[in-house]
């Protein structure tokens, strides 16, 4: 078990001075993820909040080797770096004892949507890479448009609530399970409010031989519209309501890492967030009911998968 004191004394690989919003979940996630390996590391970052806010030329917040090429191709880019590593190791142009880890990162836009094909291809080919998605449920970098990770009923700028619409009418895409279906050695969901869970999973992912995927819920005060001091509490509530279960799948075996003693109603997670405010109008009561039912069904299914 890692001790927080030891982790705190490690050098940051994502350093201060970036322009991410006050209360953003991204730096918390990556400061922890990047502590989970001490090997030299190369990161390929998809276009998005993290990329834009950390690398405004001529400054950078990255204290580690980092590359950005486009929005939809972080997985393919890091796969290319890894392929070159294999080649040059074989040809003897990288010393045998030099170990490098390869990390692709993107938001839900760059991962669930536009980058899904490249990610699917990269993990199917078995590159020895880790991919971490920070899922803030929207295209936050461009002002909060819907993504396939935007929750049912949420108002986003391209799925706005209005007199004729209760917001987004579709359920979230279950990306973690899509990755599991690729039969990769390691896939997991985590959240920044449980630092130990996040650290352990990132460490496992880095230690995995072959592709590993980590999907991390990332609170976003700007697009979720809540008091920015409440991010960690919202992350906790996402786990306690089972909206964002913490689990991992190692070689096909499911393990749920957190089971709330008392499962909280989804309302507790929805209420503090402005993007769901309209759901509390009387006419939208069926949407709230459907929301709860779907979360219950998903949670039951996950528990069943674990018991296999």
């Amino acid at each position: 078990m890692a001790k927080l004191k030891d982790l705190a004394s490690m050098e940051d690989r994502l350093v201060a001075g970036h322009g991410l919003c006050l209360g953003c979940g991204i730096p918390l996630i990556f400061k922890m993820v990047l502590r989970a390996t001490e090997d030299p590391l190369i990161i390929a970052n998809a276009t998005g909040c993290l990329e834009v806010c950390t690398t405004i030329f001529p400054r950078t917040s990255w204290n580690v080797t980092w590359i950005h090429s486009a929005f939809e191709n972080a997985a393919a880019t890091i796969a290319g770096v890894e392929a070159m590593y294999k080649s040059l190791k074989r040809k003897g142009r990288i010393p045998k004892d030099k170990k490098i880890k390869f990390l692709g990162v993107g938001g839900d836009g760059g991962t669930y949507d536009i980058g899904l094909q490249a990610l699917s291809g990269a993990v199917e080919r078995g590159h020895d890479i880790v991919y971490v998605c920070y899922d803030n449920n929207a295209y936050a970098n461009t002002g909060g448009q819907r993504s396939s990770a935007t929750p049912f009923g949420a108002s986003a700028t391209t799925s706005p609530e209005g007199s004729q619409s209760p917001g987004k009418l579709q359920w979230r895409k279950d990306l973690t399970k899509i990755l599991v279906a690729h039969n990769i050695p390691y896939a997991a969901q985590s959240s920044p409010h449980r630092w130990q869970d996040l650290y352990n999973k990132a460490k496992k992912a880095f230690e995995t031989e072959g592709p590993a995927f980590l999907n991390v819920l990332c609170f976003c005060p700007t697009e979720w519209k809540y008091d920015e001091s409440q991010g960690i509490r919202l992350a906790q509530l996402a786990a306690d309501t089972c909206i964002w279960p913490l689990y991992e799948v190692e070689s096909g075996k499911y393990k749920v890492n957190y089971k709330p003693k008392e499962k909280k109603p989804v309302l507790e997670w929805l209420k503090p967030q402005g993007r769901f405010r309209h759901l509390f109008k009387e006419e939208n009561a069926p949407i709230l009911e459907e929301f709860q039912k779907q979360v219950d069904r998903d949670w039951e299914e996950l528990l069943k998968l674990e018991s296999f």
Binding site: H68, N73, A79, E124, R125
Partner: protein, 393 residues
């Protein structure tokens, strides 16, 4: 030892890849370049190359893998055509912007719609502003020779710009030709060791590659990228000369065929130039003073040299195997017409679009063009500046 082999265009590229053994090949199969990718895969399976072969799920990812791999610090190539190159389009600009010396073989093919698998230059012409150097090949031997030279040009420290080598889909990619395949060691020596520039693998440097530029830096960075391709001409020339010294076949920016005393001239690239040479021979035997100028390097465009070669003629026809809808002429025409603008003494010039979707162009078509050129030379007037060859209208 240099040997004669009967190979088609795709095989000649694959043969060059085997000899050069790039560190990473990332390519997605597409007609008519598929056989390049398949042959490389088989070379890897048989242990004939030691580099990594990656077969991604799309051309967009193929170019993205190339970009990651080249940034990491090694020699990289790919092959594609048509829709594949179109799908790479976004990444072509990024490869050039990041100054990565990637080499691509393109079996030139038309673009949809309508879908068509045959040869024309729409694909690479569509990428003409992407920042890549473009070299076109008349036949299999040229494709082989150009591909080998491409690495030297791309990787030159003054250039550091990706290069694509075009070979006409099917007409070259699938046609057999007896070609001189040079000695493995000699080819390796000519291409030389790869020298990485700011490789990601130098992890102690902790570099940030591809950061975001706002209005304060983007323009300067783009300008410095343009300098790379502007630096290419002397390198292309030197590499072409050295290739000639080493292997006996010298290359320049374009080929002039029977141009010495030519009064009229046809400008045409790639495989059609071969047919055009036959037409020129026949016309010459009839006493017509006509010549051919075959551009080899389209980007950077050797505007001054071409203008110098054409300025004294009495009429020029530029034949394009692509169109630029709504523009004042197809790509090669607009370049050449513009290149001649500064010359007081300049010939009238006419544009013909030919061969879209692989439509044949035959000796008689060139003869028709020659006849029209003769009339233009006589009158000094171009009645219609654009025509189409072998088209039912």
């Amino acid at each position: 030892m240099s040997t004669l082999k009967t190979l088609n265009g795709n095989q000649t590229i694959a043969e060059a890849v085997r000899q050069i053994d790039p560190d990473v090949v990332a390519a997605y199969p597409i007609t008519p370049s598929t056989a390049i990718v398949e042959t490389i895969a088989k070379f890897r399976a048989d242990g004939l190359i030691s580099g990594e072969f990656v077969c991604p799920e799309s051309e967009h990812s193929a170019m993205s893998v190339c970009i990651g791999a080249a940034s990491a610090g090694g020699r990289v190539m790919t092959a594609t055509a048509s829709q594949g190159l179109a799908l790479m389009w976004e990444m072509l600009y990024i490869a050039a912007g990041l100054r990565l010396p990637i080499v691509a073989a393109i079996a030139n093919r038309s673009l949809s719609a309508p879908i068509n698998i045959h040869g024309d230059h729409s694909d690479t012409m569509g990428a003409r502003d992407s920042g890549w150097i473009q070299i076109y090949s008349e036949g299999c031997q040229e494709a082989y020779d150009n591909f080998i030279q491409a690495f030297r040009i791309a990787e030159h420290l003054d250039v550091r710009t990706p290069v694509l080598v075009g070979l006409d889909g099917f007409i070259i990619s699938h046609s057999l030709e007896v070609i001189q395949v040079e000695d493995d060691a000699k080819v390796k020596k000519f291409v030389g060791e790869y020298k990485p520039v700011y490789p990601l693998f130098d992890t102690d440097r902790k570099m940030t590659v591809g950061p975001i530029d706002f209005t304060d830096y983007y323009f300067e960075h783009k300008r410095s990228q343009i300098e790379g391709i502007e630096n290419a001409p002397p390198v292309i020339e030197a590499v072409g000369k050295e290739f000639g010294k080493t292997f006996g076949r010298e290359y320049g920016f374009f080929e002039e065929y029977r141009m010495d005393d030519a009064e009229t001239c046809i400008v045409v690239m790639s495989s059609a130039a071969g047919t055009c040479k036959d037409a020129i021979d026949e016309l010459r035997s009839e006493g017509k003073k006509i010549g051919l100028l075959k551009p080899r390097v389209f980007r950077p465009f050797p505007h001054q040299k071409i203008a110098e070669a054409l300025k004294k003629t009495k009429a020029v026809a530029v034949l394009d195997r692509s169109s630029s809808p709504g523009a004042f002429g197809a790509p090669l025409f607009t370049e050449i017409r513009s290149a001649l603008y500064d010359y007081q003494e300049r010939p009238p010039i006419v544009n013909y679009v030919y061969g879209l979707g692989g439509r044949d162009i035959m000796v008689e078509h060139f003869k028709d063009v020659a006849q029209k050129l003769e009339k233009i030379a006589e009158t000094g007037k171009v009645e219609e500046w654009l025509g189409y060859i072998n088209l039912r209208e």
